[in-house]
């Protein structure tokens, strides 16, 4: 009986099918796309913005933007690659928008405290980096962008990207030496 029920169950839709349905305005298909990808997008947004509240806002903005731009996706590249590029741009845009006004009034210290016990070791110390150094480090070291690509995304010179990466690296090493990170504590 159980076997029969299993046979009767519809097979889960593949990602291209979900994309096609979402393009036509199917919100349930879009929700499934969200469920598949939102943790990856959130991780990217959190590391770029450095604040939980801003990362949540940026993640929401990413998916709203994805809903708007999805009809433009023609499958010429991988959907994950396309979504990744869209998310990076949206996260940077959200950060810029936020910085221009709210950052004058709101400190990120609260968020730093709240994430200290919540996230993995690297993410704890990443939040202690200066904004620009953190973004360059995340894009280059974690997301695999070249310095030229980082420079283009951030509107800076490639040399500046390299310098910021070097700075971030030194600061992170200093934080590790100070014993602020328990290496492998969570993973081993």
């Amino acid at each position: 009986m159980t076997a029969q029920i299993r046979v009767m169950e519809p097979r889960p839709l593949l990602e291209p099918e979900l994309i096609d349905k979402a393009k036509l305005g199917d919100k349930s298909a879009f929700k499934k796309l969200y469920q598949l990808h939102h943790q990856r997008v959130y991780a990217l947004c959190l590391r770029i913005t450095g604040q939980v509240s801003l990362a949540e806002e940026a993640t929401q903005d990413c998916f709203v933007r994805l809903w708007q731009k999805l009809p433009q996706f023609r499958g010429e590249s991988q959907f994950t690659t396309w979504l990744h590029t869209l998310s990076v741009n949206q996260a940077l845009s959200s950060l810029k928008k936020h910085r221009s006004f709210w950052s004058r009034f709101v400190s990120s210290d609260t968020d730093l405290q709240s994430v200290r016990d919540e996230y993995e070791d690297l993410d704890k110390i990443l939040l202690k980096l200066p904004e620009r150094a953190r973004i360059v480090f995340v894009l280059h070291a974690l997301e695999g962008y070249k310095h030229e690509e980082v420079a283009q995304l951030m509107g800076i010179a490639p040399g500046t990207s390299k310098a910021q990466y070097h700075r971030a690296q030194k600061l992170l090493e200093a934080l590790i030496e100070q014993g602020q990170v328990d290496i492998g504590g969570r993973h081993e």
């Binding site: 990856r40 959130y42 991780a43 949540e56 929401q60 998916f63 690297l122 992170l172």
Partner: protein, 179 residues
Amino acid sequence: MNDASAKLTQLINQAPREIAPQKELWNDIERQLDKVELDQPQNKAQQRPVFRRLAVASIILLVGLLGMNIWQHNGELSTLATPSPLLATLAEIKLQHQLQVEQLSQQQHLTNWQASELGLPLENGIEQLRKAAEQIYQALQQTPNDKELWQLWLWTQQREIELLQQGQTLPVNPLPQGV
């Protein structure tokens, strides 16, 4: 590679690709999607008044331009219909020029350079200038505001006077008294 650098490399390699948000974000996203859908027809509706305003502004502009054009034509017609001060000046200058020519002609009776072979080219030139001046004068009566025509007309008159004065200086024998 020092210890801290090695540890950092290890942390990068161990960094999770995915992080779960602390709160559920889908509900807010869904609300925003609904808002996006609602906004789209509104945007279209908002475009209509903009289009209407643009159309009204275009019509006003068109009417204005047409009105200005008609007004200018009327101005030109009224200029032609009523004797303008320019036409009076034109007639006065012509009269003065004729008087000056007459005075010079009286002197011609003393020299009679026209009768000599040397004076023939001058005489032809003067004749051509007079014909041209008359044609320009008639054109000026139609369009008295044309500055270039004015300059050309005054030049023909000036040149005629100069040629007449040149004729006076030609080496010809003066007429005997009483002829």
